[in-house]
Symmetry: C2
Subunit: 349 residues, 2 copies
DNA sequence: CTGAAAGCGCTTACAG
DNA sequence: CTGAAAGCGCTTACAG
């Protein structure tokens, strides 16, 4: 125990504690400058002489100094964090979005806080709350419910668009995509075209469904309620398979099917295989999202090219823009153009 | 501008600033208690009377108070963060590990900081540094190089094992897996069995390769250098395809191939298709990692069942254990048991 | 060019 | 049961 009045430096317990991580004060003492000078030197401030900078840097290296970002964030009132919340990080689409966003954010000096909600509204709410408590500078949100968020920080919605909320929205051009798919099937001469989609709770669900009906109408094909089947909330392959089985059980069977996602398509293909149907001979099938290695499936599937990573990159760029320039005016809405990859499941080749 | 000596409360500029986020001091003032009392009340400390707690909570709600975790972390000297660094979050394996780890960590009250390195050693080093600066409590690391890390915090290695480092290692039972695969092909009567693997720089690369040679030896099959081909550093399907083409070009062609990953297998299958070979008639193929919807491939592939999420859950549990109980003694090594999923590419069915 | 001082928003001994 | 005070590790006006 140090006697009162004794200089603190000589007996600083921090030096003796083996587990102590050096602080800026330690560096400053070691370099014989004030903490403020050490701080500026490590920031390479123009206020500091070259010689001093060298001394401070040497001291920092010698001590193995690692700046404490927590303290820095508290002081500067900016964590340099952007949160991203996704329904299921295990799903390829979301993990690729996260990847794209992470790269853009990192090169701008931001850290990304990934929150996985498992599609539970309660977890989404909690995730948002946690992000706010961590004082993130902005949020990238693929909401799986209609969470009404009071934007205390800029928000960019992706995948599931929330019109006129946040600073921006990013999603695929759903209507164009469905049009491409249906047009192609019509080009093959199909007129009994069915649709296996996701529930309309999400943007992708509602827009794709709506577009399917609209495009059929444009072609003068009568709407057939039996031909529209919706899968479960997670767009599972199981529900895609179930939908296909229902379609196959119909008296007046469709000759072609559009699925609104890769998982739905995969489930539908399994169902066809189990029913001993040959694609595309007995049934044509095209899908919105191209499955991973869709060219290796039996048959290779005709689908829309993936640009998942770009969605993440775009969303990140938009939040960065809002952080740097301030969010002004109405939210931007960005739609990623789609592109048809023609393979064999449609009847081509 | 407030006159000196005037009570601060009446003119507190924070109240007038519209963008000000309420602090604990605001809550305390509103509830007419000391900040320390407010802090304890919100922590539901037994020291505080029920009536006071109620008042404080009401004030917090009224003001829309969100505790500042940055300040909390600085004060308690624990960020309640665990970092996880992966070579490529866009790859299914890693995203599922992240998912598993995240769920375990979250239910233990930790936040997860995901770092994506794109397999660049420099980015991995930077990621580790960043994590340390954020004062994470522990790290989950799938290193893509032999990063020698001085563990200032507990580390659990996964995927790529670093023996006798960190507090624990988690990986698939690589040797058992390869044995299962080769044994099955031998059971089909194959004796000319080739191997398409990843480079031995990683645990999965070296252990699987080594096991392949050992199992061949166990079966009394002569080692054939031409039959062993290694893909590129990312185990790309392109390199798997190239390897398969080399194999097909051999004078004394193999009759069966073991691939060390799903991507390698997929590339190899593409190469076979391009060469107009029929699987499994012209060539049997089995794979270590089961591709996504491997049952829908042409032909359905025989492979080892995936337990990626479990690897993440295990790694997270191990780091949690180390954080709570302290890391004692030699690092634990956990090997996830493997399981053969028999389909048709091997020649069955 | 350098330093002393204040303060970011919490928590936690310590005292009552 | 409650409060006053110190301090986590930084940064940044302010003064010299």
């Amino acid at each position: 125990v140090p006697a009162d009045g004794q200089p603190a430096i000589a007996v600083d317990p921090r030096i003796t504690q083996s587990k102590h991580r050096p602080t800026l004060v330690d560096v400053a003492q070691s370099a014989k400058v004030a903490p403020s000078t050490a701080s500026r030197a490590l920031q390479d401030s123009p206020m500091i002489s070259a010689a001093t900078k060298r001394r401070v840097r040497a001291a920092a290296r010698r001590l193995g100094y690692e700046p404490n970002r927590i303290a820095r964030s508290l002081r500067t009132r900016s964590a340099n964090f952007v949160g991203i919340v996704v329904p299921d990080i295990g799903v390829g689409f979301y993990s690729r979005v996260v990847k794209g966003a992470g790269n853009v954010l990192e090169s701008a000096g931001y850290q990304m806080l990934v929150m996985n909600t498992e599609r539970q509204p309660s977890r989404e709410k909690a995730a948002l709350q946690t992000l706010l408590e961590h004082r993130v500078d902005g949020i990238l949100l693929a909401t799986s419910g209609a969470t009404e968020v009071e934007p205390r920080v800029p928000i960019v919605f992706f995948d599931n668009v929330v019109p006129s909320a946040g600073v921006a929205n990013v999603a695929y051009a759903n209507r164009d995509g469905i049009a491409l798919l249906v047009d192609h099937l019509v080009g093959h001469g199909h007129s009994r075209i069915a649709y296996i989609g996701g529930p309309p709770a999400s943007t992708s669900g509602s827009e794709r469904l709506e577009a399917f009906r609209a495009v059929l109408d444009r072609h003068g094909l009568p709407p057939e309620d039996d031909y529209v089947r919706l899968g479960d909330a997670v767009w599972s392959s199981q529900s895609g398979g179930a939908a296909m089985r229902e379609l196959l059980g119909l008296a007046h069977r469709p000759t072609a099917v559009v699925t609104a996602s890769d998982t739905l398509a995969l489930g539908a293909m399994q169902a066809c295989r189990q029913a001993d149907l040959r694609l595309p001979r007995d049934m044509a099938l095209v899908s919105f999202d191209d499955p991973f290695f869709g060219d290796l499936l039996d048959p290779p599937i005709t689908a829309l090219a993936r640009k998942d990573r770009e969605i993440g990159e775009l969303a990140a760029s938009l939040i960065l823009h809002a952080l740097e320039c301030g969010s002004s005016g109405a939210p931007t809405e960005v739609r990623l153009p789609v592109e048809l990859v023609v393979r064999k499941s449609c009847g081509c080749g």
